[in-house]
């Protein structure tokens, strides 16, 4: 991994097509502008985590889930 120190207003170049601009450094947040080819996906890490959890949630077998978290009432869920 490469580590670089940058000040507000400075830029980092990755290859020919990607420019990362440190727009603003706040107390505990930085604002970053990224110029990159349209086909590159750029998302915050937590957004990727949320997307993966949503995809997993969408494919849950509800009857199985119910048996798993409420085993004592599982017979009631069998009609779904």
């Amino acid at each position: 991994m490469m580590v670089m120190r940058r000040r507000e207003g400075e830029k980092i170049l990755i290859g020919e097509d990607i420019v990362i601009h440190i727009e603003h450094i706040g107390r505990n947040k930085v604002k970053i502008a990224i110029d990159a080819p349209r086909e590159l996906s750029i998302v915050a890490e937590e957004m990727k985590m949320v997307r993966e959890e949503n995809l997993a949630a969408a494919s849950v077998d509800v009857a199985f889930l119910h048996r798993k978290i409420f085993p004592q009432t599982s017979s009631a869920a069998s009609d779904m």
Binding site: R51, H66, I69
Partner: protein
């Protein structure tokens, strides 16, 4: 009344007032804008976010306070504005706050990091990532529910 076909609930009737609108969809499901919150007595306290556009899209969910009675909601500025809250929303009073449930190797987990927040007055909804990242996106449910029972 409106209705939609669903895999889990068959033909589901709902009123405009019970539909919720995600202005930007959910991550991974950006084009899914309209859902109905379905509650079934047999599955209490589980609730379901059923898409009215896609019959086989149904997210199981639990109210965050059913998982963690001390859950504190934090909504970032952009989300708060999108949801139409002038001040920080309170769970139960201003907002219904649901954690989506997933299974990982058969273990149920709740996404407490990014709950679905529904404005109870306007029915506008958004999935809001905790700006301070205080909760897990894979909170293991088994331990929480054992503790509660």
């Amino acid at each position: 009344m409106h209705w939609c076909n669903t895999i889990h609930f068959g033909r589901l009737e709902y009123s405009s007032a019970s539909a919720i609108e995600f202005c930007e969809g959910l991550p991974g499901f950006e084009s899914e804008r309209r859902f109905v919150v379905v509650q079934k007595p047999d599955h209490h306290p589980l609730v379901f976010l059923q898409s009215v556009q896609t019959q086989n899209l149904c997210f199981p969910a639990l109210p965050v306070r059913a998982i963690d009675s001390r859950y504190e909601l934090r909504v970032g500025g952009t989300d708060q504005e999108a949801l139409g809250f002038e001040i920080a929303p309170k769970i139960g009073e201003d907002a219904l706050v649901l954690a989506l449930i997933a299974l990982h190797e058969e273990d149920p987990t709740a996404n407490l990091l990014a709950p679905v927040v529904i404005n109870l007055r306007t029915r506008v909804a958004a999935q809001c990532i905790d700006p301070e990242m205080r909760y897990s996106h894979r909170y293991h449910l088994a331990s929480a529910l054992e503790a509660a029972s």
